[in-house]
C-alpha cells in the first residue's frame, strides 16, 4: 500500500482494510496518533489528510486518498507549531493521551477558521478528554489563533 506521511512516500506491506491508525503505529512507527476506541468516537487517533482532520482508526488504508500529516509532522524542527506552543503556554495536558488528537483537530480548525468563536470551537472540537482539560483547550486555541496571526501562520 502506497502512502505519503509527513512528506515521506512509503510502500507498506499491509492489508488494504487495515485502518490507517494501525499502519502508522505498528508499521510506520509513529506513536503520536493514539488508539482510544476504534470506532471514531473519541478522536485520539486524529490526523490530517490533505489538511482535513480525520479519525484514522476507522479509515482503511485503501480509502486514504491524500497526504497524511500526524502530530510528528506539524512542527518545524525544534520550533513547534503555534498550536503546540499555545498548548504549552496554557499548560493544557494532564495525562496527555488524547492531546495529540486534540492538537490535530485544533490545527485543522485554525487552518479553516483563523479566529474561531466559542461556537466554532464547540462544533469542531468533539474529541474526548477524560481528564477534562476542555477549559484549557479552549484558551489554548484562542491563544494559538493570536500566535498564528502574529507569525503569519506557519511554524
Amino acid at each position: 500500500m502506497k502512502l505519503t506521511v509527513n512528506g515521506t512516500q512509503m510502500d507498506l506491506d499491509a492489508e488494504p482494510d487495515m485502518p490507517l491508525l494501525w499502519a502508522l503505529r505498528d508499521l510506520v512507527g509513529l506513536k503520536g496518533p493514539k488508539f482510544g476506541c476504534g470506532i471514531a468516537a473519541c478522536g485520539s487517533c486524529t490526523v490530517m489528510i490533505d489538511g482535513v482532520a480525520q479519525r484514522s482508526c476507522v479509515l482503511a488504508l485503501e480509502d486514504v486518498d491524500g497526504e497524511v500529516t500526524t502530530i510528528e509532522g506539524i512542527s518545524n524542527g525544534e520550533t513547534l507549531h503555534p498550536v503546540q506552543q499555545a498548548w504549552i503556554e496554557n499548560q493544557v495536558a494532564q495525562c496527555g493521551y488524547c492531546q495529540s488528537g486534540q492538537i490535530m483537530a485544533a490545527v485543522a480548525l485554525l487552518d479553516e477558521v483563523p479566529n474561531p468563536t466559542d461556537e466554532d470551537i464547540n462544533a469542531a472540537m468533539t474529541n474526548l478528554c477524560r481528564c477534562g482539560t476542555y477549559p484549557q483547550i479552549r484558551q489554548a486555541i484562542k491563544r494559538a489563533a493570536e500566535l498564528k496571526s502574529q507569525t503569519g501562520g506557519e511554524a
Binding site: K31, K34, G38
Partner: protein
C-alpha cells in the same frame, strides 16, 4: 512478606486480620536503594530519588505513577527546592518498582478515621498503619496521597544530598561548610567560586549521609507553593511515545485478549480455525489460568500487528459459560435492595458512625418533622483514554514488563509469581499512564501480558485490549442503594440523621483478584466513606454499611465510596434544608460551625457563585460539601433551562487543602475531578443483560465533551491544619451540587443516577 501480608494486610481499613506488631528492627530498617547497581559510568545515586553525573546531569526519580495529576512536577519540585536546582535543570525519570518507594500515607488514610479526628486513638491507628505501609513496602499511587507521602521524604532527599555535596566541597577545598551556600545546582564558596554539583558527585559518594539535616521553612521556598510549568508538558504536546501503548521493542509481537464477557465465567469451547487463516495471525492461546483465578476463561491472539490480532479475535468461534452473578441489572439491583431492606429489618450491618441515640430521637418524632429518602447509583466504568495494555518479555531467566501501573511492586510480585521467576529477576519498566482513576491499580492487564510472554519464545509481546474488552472487563465502581431518615428540631435543624448504605464490598473484590489466599474480614469502610466521616455536628447521627453479595468485579474508582456517598449524603442534606425552608449553605454553616475550615469553604463558594443574588427565572443553583482525602471541598453548580434541555453553566469550587505545593496543578485536579463527576451524571451507567456488560464503547458510555463543559471558578485555600490531596476531592461534591441545582431549577428531586435518565442535558 507473604506471611506478614496474610496477617496484617489492609486497604481501606477493611482487613486487619491479626495484630500489627512488628519488631522495632523491622520498622526502623530502611529498604535498599534500588538505584545501586543501575547507575551509568560517572553517575552517583545519592538516595532512591536522586542521581547526579560528573558532567552535571541531575536526575530525579519519581516513584509515583504520572496519570495526569502532575505528580512528576510536584515531587520533583519537592526535591529541587531543598537541593537548590531549578526544575529546568533536572531530568525526570519514572522510578523502578521497589519497596523503598513505599507509600505509608495511603495506609494511614486507609485506616478510615475521619480526617478531622485528631484524637490520640485516631493518630495512633494512623501511625500503626503507616508502619505497615513501610514494612510491606507497597509502592502505590492512589487515595490522593502522593504529595502528602512525599512531602518530607523528597524534601529530605534533596536536603541531605545538598549537605553531602557541601561536605564534598569541604573535602575538596578544606573550606569550612559554614561559609558555603548552594544555588542553581552549585556549591558556592565564600569567595564566590561556584562548584557545580557534578564536580562534587564522586567525592560525595564516599561520604556518609549526614543525619541531622533540617528542612527549610515554607517562608524560604522558591519553587514550592508557586505554580510551575509541568515537566511533561512539551513531550505531551508533541506526541512523544510516553505511554505503555507506545512501547516498541525489537522483535516484538502484538496481541489482544478476549475474556468471558460474563465476568469470571469459564470458556466452554473455542474453535480457532478461521482466526488462524487471517494474515498476520501467529497463534491463538488459551488464557484461562491453570489455578483458580477470579478472571474466568478466555483467549489471546498473537499476531504481527495489532489490527491482525483484533481481526483474529473476532474470528474465533467461542462459547462462554455463565456468570457467577445475576444475569440482568434488575436482578443485581434486587440483590442489593434486598440486602439493604433485610439488614434494616433485622438491625444488622456495620455501624461506622454513631453519636447520640438515633432510635430514641425518632421514637417520639412528630411526622411533619421527619424527612425520608431512598437513593441509588449504578455501576460505572473508569474508561481511561488509554485502553489497558502491557508488554512482557521472558528471556534468559529474566522477566520484564512495560506498563503504566499505579502499583509497581504489586505488579512485580504478581508477575514474578505468574511466570515463576524470582522477584529479583523481575523488572517493571513503568511508563506514563493514559489515565488511571484507580483502574491501573489492578494487576490483571499486567498478569495477562506476563502469562502470554510464556508463549512467545523469548520475544516481547505487547498485549493491547480493544476498547470493547476494556469497557466490558473493568473493575467497576459498584452500584449502591441507601436509605436516609432525618428528624428536624424546633428550629428546623437536623437533630437526628440515620443513613444506611448497601453496596458490594470493593475490598473483598480487590482481595479476591489480587490476594486470593487472604480474606477480607470485618467492615469495609469504602461502603460508608463520604457518609460516616463528614464534619457535620448532629446530636444523633448514625451511618451503617452493609455488604451486598454480588460477585461482579469492582474496584477503586476516582474518590471510591465518596463518589456515591457524596451524592447520597449531600442531596439528603439539601432535602433537609428544603423541608425546613432553609438556605442550604446557611444550614451547613450552622451544622459545621465547629469546623471553621468547612465554614470557610462555604463562605468562599458562596462568593464565587454569587450565591445570595436574587433568583432568576430559568436558572437554578445547588451546593454540596464533601470532606474527602483531606481536602475540605464545597462546590456550587449553576444551571439554566433552554428549549433543548438543561445546561450546566458554571461550577464554583472552594477547596481547602491545607497546603498547595503547586496551586495551578491543584486547581486543575479539582477541575478534572469535577468534570469526571459531572460526566457520571450525563448518561454514564454500566448495565447487564445475559450476564454481559451492555455498554461497550464511548458511543454508549460517553463522558462530558467540550460543548457541555461549564465555566469554572476555583479557589484553592490553605487554612486547614493538615495537608490534603487533590486528585479526587473534586468528584464527590459536584454530583450532588448538580442534582441540587436541577431540583432548584425544576422542582424535580432526582434520587437515582445518572441524572440524565430523568432530565435532558445539553
Amino acid at each position: 512478606m507473604g506471611k506478614i501480608l496474610r496477617r496484617t494486610f489492609l486497604i481501606g481499613g477493611a482487613a486487619i486480620a491479626g495484630g500489627v506488631a512488628f519488631g522495632a528492627y523491622i520498622v526502623n530498617r530502611d529498604h535498599a536503594n534500588p538505584l545501586i547497581g543501575t547507575t551509568k559510568e560517572g553517575e552517583v545515586a545519592f538516595n532512591p530519588y536522586l542521581k547526579i553525573t560528573e558532567d552535571d546531569q541531575i536526575t530525579v526519580m519519581v516513584p509515583r505513577a504520572e496519570m495526569g495529576q502532575g505528580i512528576t512536577t510536584t515531587l520533583t519540585a519537592l526535591l529541587a527546592e531543598e537541593l537548590d536546582v531549578t526544575l529546568e535543570k533536572v531530568t525526570v525519570e519514572i522510578a523502578p518498582a521497589a519497596n523503598a518507594y513505599y507509600n505509608s500515607t495511603m495506609l494511614e488514610e486507609g485506616a478510615g478515621k475521619p480526617h478531622f479526628d485528631r484524637s490520640f486513638s485516631a493518630e495512633a491507628l494512623r501511625a500503626t498503619m503507616g508502619t505497615v505501609g513501610k514494612v510491606l513496602g507497597l509502592q502505590v499511587t492512589g487515595g490522593s496521597t502522593s504529595t502528602i507521602d512525599a512531602y518530607e521524604k523528597m524534601r529530605m532527599a534533596g536536603a541531605t544530598a545538598r549537605e553531602t555535596l557541601k561536605l564534598a566541597a569541604y573535602k575538596q577545598t578544606g573550606i569550612d561548610t559554614d561559609g558555603m551556600k548552594t544555588s542553581d545546582g552549585a556549591v558556592i564558596l565564600p569567595d564566590g567560586t561556584k562548584l557545580p554539583y557534578g564536580s562534587l558527585a564522586q567525592t560525595a559518594a564516599e561520604i556518609d549521609t549526614p543525619s541531622d539535616v533540617a528542612l527549610r521553612p515554607a517562608s524560604d521556598w522558591k519553587i514550592l507553593g508557586k505554580s510551575q510549568p509541568r515537566t511533561d508538558m512539551r513531550a505531551k504536546s508533541t506526541g512523544a511515545p510516553l505511554f505503555g501503548m507506545d512501547v516498541d521493542l525489537q522483535d516484538m509481537v502484538y496481541a489482544t485478549l478476549k475474556m468471558n464477557p460474563r465476568l469470571g465465567g469459564p470458556m466452554i469451547r473455542m474453535d480457532t480455525t478461521e482466526a488462524r487463516k487471517i494474515k498476520g495471525v501467529i497463534d491463538v492461546v488459551d488464557m484461562t489460568a491453570t489455578q483458580d483465578e477470579a478472571f474466568g476463561g478466555g483467549f489471546a491472539v498473537i499476531a504481527t500487528n495489532t489490527w491482525a490480532a483484533f481481526k483474529g479475535a473476532e474470528a474465533v468461534d467461542v462459547e462462554w459459560g455463565p456468570a457467577p452473578y445475576p444475569a440482568t441489572t434488575e436482578g443485581i439491583m434486587e440483590v442489593i435492595a434486598n440486602t439493604l431492606d433485610r439488614s434494616e429489618a433485622e438491625g444488622e450491618g456495620d455501624v461506622m458512625r454513631e453519636e447520640g441515640d438515633v432510635k430514641l430521637a425518632f421514637a417520639d418524632a412528630p411526622r411533619e418533622r421527619i424527612v425520608e429518602a431512598r437513593y441509588q447509583v449504578p455501576y460505572l466504568a473508569h474508561a481511561t483514554m488509554e485502553p489497558m495494555n502491557a508488554t512482557a518479555q521472558l528471556k534468559d531467566g529474566e522477566s520484564h514488563l512495560w506498563a503504566g501501573t499505579q502499583a509497581p511492586t504489586l505488579v512485580r510480585d504478581d508477575c514474578a509469581w505468574e511466570v515463576g521467576v524470582d522477584k529479583e529477576r523481575t523488572f517493571i519498566h513503568s511508563t506514563y499512564l493514559g489515565g488511571g482513576f484507580g483502574r491501573r491499580g489492578e494487576v490483571d492487564f499486567c498478569r495477562f501480558a506476563a502469562r502470554l510472554a510464556k508463549k512467545t519464545n523469548g520475544k516481547p509481546v505487547k498485549l493491547v485490549w480493544s476498547r470493547e474488552e476494556d469497557m466490558t472487563h473493568d473493575t467497576y465502581r459498584p452500584a449502591a442503594i441507601s436509605t436516609w431518615k432525618a428528624r428536624l428540631d424546633d428550629d428546623g435543624f437536623p437533630m437526628a440523621v440515620d443513613g444506611r448504605i448497601a453496596c458490594p464490598s470493593i475490598i473483598k473484590s480487590v482481595m479476591a483478584r489480587t490476594f486470593p489466599s487472604i480474606g477480607a474480614a470485618g467492615p469495609d469502610n469504602t461502603i460508608t466513606q463520604g457518609a460516616a466521616d463528614q464534619p457535620y455536628d448532629i446530636a444523633n447521627y448514625k451511618i451503617t454499611g452493609v455488604k451486598a453479595p454480588v460477585d461482579i468485579p469492582i474496584g477503586f474508582w476516582r474518590s471510591v465510596g465518596n463518589s456515591y456517598n457524596g451524592f447520597f449524603h449531600e442531596c439528603f442534606m439539601d432535602e433537609i434544608a428544603h423541608a425546613a425552608g432553609k438556605d442550604p449553605i446557611e444550614m451547613r454553616r450552622r451544622i459545621m460551625a465547629k469546623h471553621p475550615t468547612a465554614v470557610g469553604t462555604l463562605n468562599k463558594v458562596a462568593e464565587l457563585a454569587d450565591w445570595d443574588a436574587p433568583a432568576v427565572e430559568g436558572q437554578g443553583k445547588g451546593v454540596a460539601f464533601t470532606l474527602s482525602f483531606g481536602c475540605w471541598t464545597a462546590i456550587a453548580v449553576e444551571v439554566s433551562q433552554s428549549d433543548d434541555g438543561i445546561r450546566i453553566e458554571k461550577v464554583s469550587i472552594a477547596a481547602d487543602i491545607g497546603k498547595a505545593l503547586d496551586p495551578a496543578i491543584v486547581a486543575n485536579q479539582l477541575q478534572s475531578g469535577a468534570i469526571y463527576g459531572l460526566s457520571s451524571c450525563l448518561g454514564e451507567k454500566i448495565t447487564f443483560a445475559d450476564g454481559m456488560v451492555q455498554e461497550t464503547n464511548y458511543d454508549t458510555y460517553d463522558a462530558m465533551r467540550m460543548y457541555q463543559c461549564p465555566e469554572f471558578a476555583i479557589a484553592v485555600m490553605e487554612t486547614a491544619d493538615h495537608m490534603g490531596g487533590s486528585g479526587e476531592p473534586g468528584t464527590p461534591p459536584v454530583i450532588p451540587a448538580l442534582a441540587n441545582a436541577v431540583f432548584n431549577l425544576t422542582g424535580k428531586r432526582i434520587r437515582s443516577m445518572p441524572l440524565s435518565d430523568e432530565v435532558e442535558f445539553v
